[in-house]
């Protein structure tokens, strides 16, 4: 699953494809959602291919770690639903990675 939305960063780079990389649970303290944003889905696929094949790549990735109140039950689906409540990802389109929707 991933989110599509054009977001221009402070450095001027516009990222469009956003996915959750990891969810960290600091027991009884906080839960952290790590996101990665790419300039396009093609670049995300380039990263996947390079990782799988052990080859080089040139992919800009903007990462962010979002701390939220501790929730040991938070899973990937719940994390994406949480992101959609944030102003940054408001009105973003949800897609499954590799779907045709991401080609538009």
């Amino acid at each position: 699953m991933a989110l599509l939305k054009n977001i221009t960063l402070d450095n001027g780079i516009t990222v469009k494809y956003h996915r959750i990389v990891s969810i960290w649970h600091i027991i009884n303290q906080t839960t952290i959602i790590e996101t990665a944003s790419y300039t396009s889905q093609e670049k995300r696929e380039e990263e996947q291919q390079a990782t799988q094949n052990g080859t080089e790549m040139n992919v800009y990735i903007n990462t962010e770690r979002i701390p939220i109140p501790y929730d040991s039950n938070l899973n990937i689906t719940g994390a994406y639903e949480y992101l959609l409540t944030l102003p940054k990802y408001k009105k973003a389109t949800s897609i499954w990675e590799g779907s045709a929707d991401a080609q538009r």
Binding site: D10, A36, E47, T51, E56, V59, T63, E64, R65
Partner: protein, 235 residues
């Protein structure tokens, strides 16, 4: 009846019946007829073998013994200029030389979770190349070729700290400022993750303050440290 007696022609000793033989002898399947050289018959010339007394081995009794003496010296020990091994891995281990394999490379660098192409449990040592990427502010730009080496000795986990110092003149506050960025990096099998990135700022006393200050803060925006290459080393 003829007046001449029948005379039997005597056989010429120089013209034997050999040529008439239908089953002539052979050497190495070559029929012995005509002028044949040792090469024609597949015979080794003595001159190509050489003399046993010319062998430089201690054993000169036979070629087999001399050859066995030589074979007994392999693998050649390090003391005799060899590697002491019969495989590349053994040779490198004996000589203490490791070979490196690239596990990750992204020219843009990343300060998020990174997936390696092979588990660090396959390597003796891990080297992580990082850069300090300015996303705004002063003009230091990207600085590459910094790396941290960590001996993991084929362990599946490895952790270390990456630190970077930056000194510049803060024109607004009119003071020389020293910043120390630090982040813990942890590698578990093929997953490399950053800990929180922290900045320690040293501000000396300036004309308007009575004392310098040192502050420590977590960096959540404009993360500075990015990893662009990971190399694994093994024998």
């Amino acid at each position: 009846m003829s007046k001449y007696p029948l005379i039997y022609k005597l056989k010429d000793d120089n013209n034997t019946d050999y040529t008439a033989l239908s089953n002539k002898p052979t050497i190495n399947s070559v029929t012995l007829t005509g002028a044949l050289s040792s090469s024609d018959l597949g015979l080794v010339d003595d001159e190509t073998i050489g003399s046993l007394t010319d062998l430089t081995t201690e054993t000169q009794s036979s070629i087999v013994a001399a050859t066995n003496e030589i074979n007994a010296k392999f693998p050649v020990s390090i003391a005799n200029g060899g590697t002491g091994g019969t495989t590349a891995t053994t040779a490198r281990t004996n000589l203490g030389v490791m070979t490196g394999e690239q596990l990750y490379y992204n020219a843009s660098g990343s300060h998020g979770s990174i997936i390696l192409s092979s588990s660090i449990a396959n390597y003796k040592m891990i080297e992580v190349f990082y850069m300090f990427a300015q996303t705004g502010g002063s003009s230091f730009g990207e600085i590459r070729d910094n790396s941290v080496r960590a001996w993991n000795n084929e362990s599946s986990t490895c952790g270390f700290n990456i630190t970077y110092t930056d000194a510049f003149l803060d024109g607004t506050a009119n003071e020389n400022r020293l910043e120390l960025m630090a982040s813990m990096v942890k590698i578990t099998a093929t997953s490399l993750t950053f800990g929180d990135e922290k900045m320690c700022i040293f501000r000396p006393k300036n004309t308007s303050s009575s004392a310098g200050t040192v502050t420590v803060q977590n960096i959540t925006d404009a993360l500075e440290i990015k990893i662009y290459k990971v190399i694994g080393y093994k024998y």
